[in-house]
Amino acid sequence: MNFRQMLTRSKRELPCVIAFGVLLLALALRAPDFFDPQNLRDLLVNTAPTLIVALGMTIVILTGEIDISVGSLFAVCSVALGWLAKAGVPILVLPLAALVIGAVLGAGNGWLVARVGMPSIIVTLATYIAWRNGLLWITQGAWVQNLPAGFQWFGLSQRGGETLIVLSAVILLIAFAIALRHLSGGRAVYAVGCDREASRLAGIDARRVVFGAFVLMGALTSLAALLNDVRFSAIPSNLGTGLELKAIAAVVVGGVSITGGSGSVIGALFGTALLGSIGTALVFAGINPFWEKAIQGAIILTAVFADAAVSRLQKHVHLDFSRAGSA
């Protein structure tokens, strides 16, 4: 694959990569303190759970659906895993438990969307409210405290725990990047997102693909919740507020088409990195951090605008090609 092909293939991710590059460059010039190892380490540990949720969101959005319940799911899983830890479930079993709990919750969304045929934005809006308020009712707002000694940092040193968190995110990122490209399931995700009816005609069970995407989304969210939990000595019951917006924004900014069918997890990585580092960057650049949300909003708008402009441009290019190539 030559350089030009690489550029064409990654044209959706490119704007975000460039934007991130520009941000880093600006910081290098104006606020080199940003690159202090401790700061970078904090940033990575903070962003890792968001990245994992963004991976799941990438899959869901690629199939042409959306999941806005992930913030609530994150809170439910955080608390449930805290309880399990307190009940004496060994720390090595917790990741497995996280996957199961998340998958089951995600399957609920998936069943309603794929089998019952309800629109995902409504289904997940409902579960977003239901899970969040159900959790509040059950916990009465109380935090999960007095966690067992081996819970924080998985019983490792803080350094070891942090490394494990970041490593998990990196491994998942690589696994999903490979899976989407090399597994037939990944191919099916793109096909279903591009054109559900055409995929059905090709013998792909589109409903199963969508269901699977929501199950994955749930499992990944729950895993992210566990990785987040172990950083603190107590688990608040209102975790994950706004997480769904963070994840969706990261995915869209990273070049994944909101209507499904195109984009990649690499895009989601850069989207997460760009949006996640803006806040810290502002602090280091000496700009009032109140601007963070405004700038994030502007980035999201720019990304969506660019996407619309590009697809309009591509339509014209298609027409030209079809004329040139007709024979």
Partner: protein, 511 residues
């Protein structure tokens, strides 16, 4: 206004869609106070002409005159201002709004701050509905009306807009006898008021009742325009089909083998398919003919498990099979290349390689992982075999020409090694060269023993390619002709003939 003046005149109109000539030098005129029938086979150019007269598309060459004034900037909006209204087979009303609101939308001054005068709106709706003889409450929700009622509302809207030219596309297709008579009454009344009506219909009998003149289109050309008086049904059919086959088709020595696909009393209410019986042998091409809407595509979709049958049986190589999904159908050795390839035949964002192997994805992967070498091998094999013209295997299919897209759609299904291939309009909208290549390919496939069921709206294609021809009408097969006995007239007679005798039954829902 004086009668016999020209309302609309099309002068030497030509239109080409993606290299396919839809209209060639078409001249047509409509006078005030006449009903001018427009007839022709599927794809003869009727709807292309209508689209130009209503301003939906612009002609490549030629001029449209409206009341003898040349109009070169015809848009849907301009056409409406000039008094041209069209009523299609499928009524286009806003189903959640009331009848009165629907009538108001096209007619009232459209300004955001205008206060709605509900009383005036209602009373005008009432008057317009009365004029077309409709007993409909203006408050009724448009979506709750029956098809003929909705149609009357559309006619009322056209009258309300002072339409001088009314285009009606198969207006009686879903009407009962009485409703049809009612509509004729409305048409005659409009005619007396000097309105010109372009009337498209496949029911040739009704033309003698209602039309003053008729223009026959074939292959995008006007064959003849003449007075309706004294023209017989047989003569019209002869004019519609013409004499010679326009294309050369591959010669094949047909040696059909065993029965590959057998349909026994196949019914699917959802798709409107009823009581279909058909046999396709391996090595045989069976053409499936019929008018648009006769249920050909619906039958194909039923066979392929997209709308599974309610009753009846599908047998493959003599064995009854249950097909509830496309995956089942593929497992049974069926392949279906759908019509409208842009929508469903290919996935235009994906590269050729992924498209060509989409139906064999599970076979292509080992432990879920795609074997890219195998994918490239298969895709490049078909690229070569079907002579697909593309820069590389990684080109996204959306950038290819129509003919090459269709070849990619075909290669996806050939890759499944099917024993039965169902093709739905395989050469629609494809230029002549690619068409001939696809015809040759279909011939080769049959010669290699594949059973082919080919849906086509082009009679020459059906006649040139098929060993036998099954003709559909109203969701069922009304006749099967052998290659030797089949003629365009016979096919068209079967496709239309049923409707001629049983026209009155058409309004009733078919079970």
């Amino acid at each position: 206004m004086s009668f016999d003046t020209s309302l609309v005149r099309a002068d030497r109109i030509s239109k080409t869609y993606e290299g396919v000539r839809a209209l060639r030098d078409v001249s047509f005129d409509l006078r005030a106070g006449e009903v001018h029938a427009l007839v022709g086979e599927n794809g003869a150019g009727k709807s292309s002409l209508i689209k130009i007269i209503t301003g939906a598309t612009q002609p490549d060459q030629g001029t449209i005159f409206i009341r003898n004034q040349p109009v070169d900037d015809l848009s849907p909006r301009r056409a409406k201002e000039l008094g041209i209204a069209a009523i299609y087979q499928q009524p286009a009303l806003f189903s959640a709004l009331s009848v009165a609101e629907n009538l108001a939308l096209g007619l009232e001054e459209q300004s955001f701050w205008n206060r709605v005068n509900w009383r005036a709106r209602r009373s005008r709706a009432q008057k317009l509905l009365q004029r077309v003889g409709a007993v409909i409450s203006p408050e009724a929700e448009a979506g709750s009306l029956s098809m003929p009622e909705q149609q009357l509302v559309e006619i009322a809207r056209a009258i309300g807009a002072d339409a001088r030219v009314l285009i009606m596309d198969e207006p009686t297709a879903s009407l009962s006898d009485r409703e049809t008579e009612n509509l004729y009454g409305v048409i005659r009344q409009l005619r007396q008021q000097g309105v010109g009506i372009i009337y498209i219909s496949h029911r040739l009998e009704e033309l003698t009742k209602i039309a003053d003149r008729v223009t026959v289109l074939r292959d995008g050309q006007v064959i003849e325009t003449r007075s309706m008086a004294g023209i017989s049904r047989e003569e019209l059919i002869r004019l519609m089909v013409g004499r010679e086959l326009a294309m050369v088709f591959p010669k094949r020595a047909a040696a059909p083998g065993d029965v590959a696909l057998e349909l026994c009393n196949l019914c699917c209410a959802e798709a409107g398919v009823r009581d279909v019986n058909l046999v396709v042998r391996s090595g045989e091409i069976v053409g499936l003919s019929g008018l648009v809407g006769s249920g050909r595509t619906e039958l194909a979709r039923t066979i392929f498990g997209l709308t599974p049958p309610d009753s009846g049986e599908i047998r493959i190589k003599g064995k009854p099979v249950q097909i509830a999904s496309p995956a089942d159908a593929i497992a049974c050795g069926l392949a279906y290349v759908p019509e409208d390839r842009r929508r469903h035949g290919v996935i235009s964002e994906l590269p050729i390689s992924a498209n060509a192997t989409l139906a064999i994805l599970s076979r292509l992967s080992r432990g879920g992982s795609i074997d890219f070498a195998e994918e490239t091998r298969i895709a490049s094999e078909y690229l070569r075999r079907l002579r697909i013209k593309a820069p590389s295997l990684h080109t996204s299919v959306g950038t290819l020409s129509g003919g090459n897209q269709q070849k990619v759609a075909l290669s996806r299904w050939l890759a499944t090694n099917p024993s039965i291939l169902v093709l739905d309009e395989p050469t629609q909208g494809i230029d002549i060269g690619a068409k001939a290549e696809i015809h040759a390919l279909i011939g080769d496939l049959a010669a290699q023993g594949m059973a082919v069921l080919m849906i086509s709206s082009e009679l020459p294609e059906i006649l040139g390619m098929s060993d036998r021809i099954a003709v559909m009408h109203e969701g069922t097969i009304v006749g099967v002709l052998d290659r030797a006995e089949a003629t365009q007239e016979k096919i068209l007679n079967l496709a239309l003939g049923h409707s001629a005798q049983n026209g009155a039954l058409l309004g009733e829902p078919t079970q």
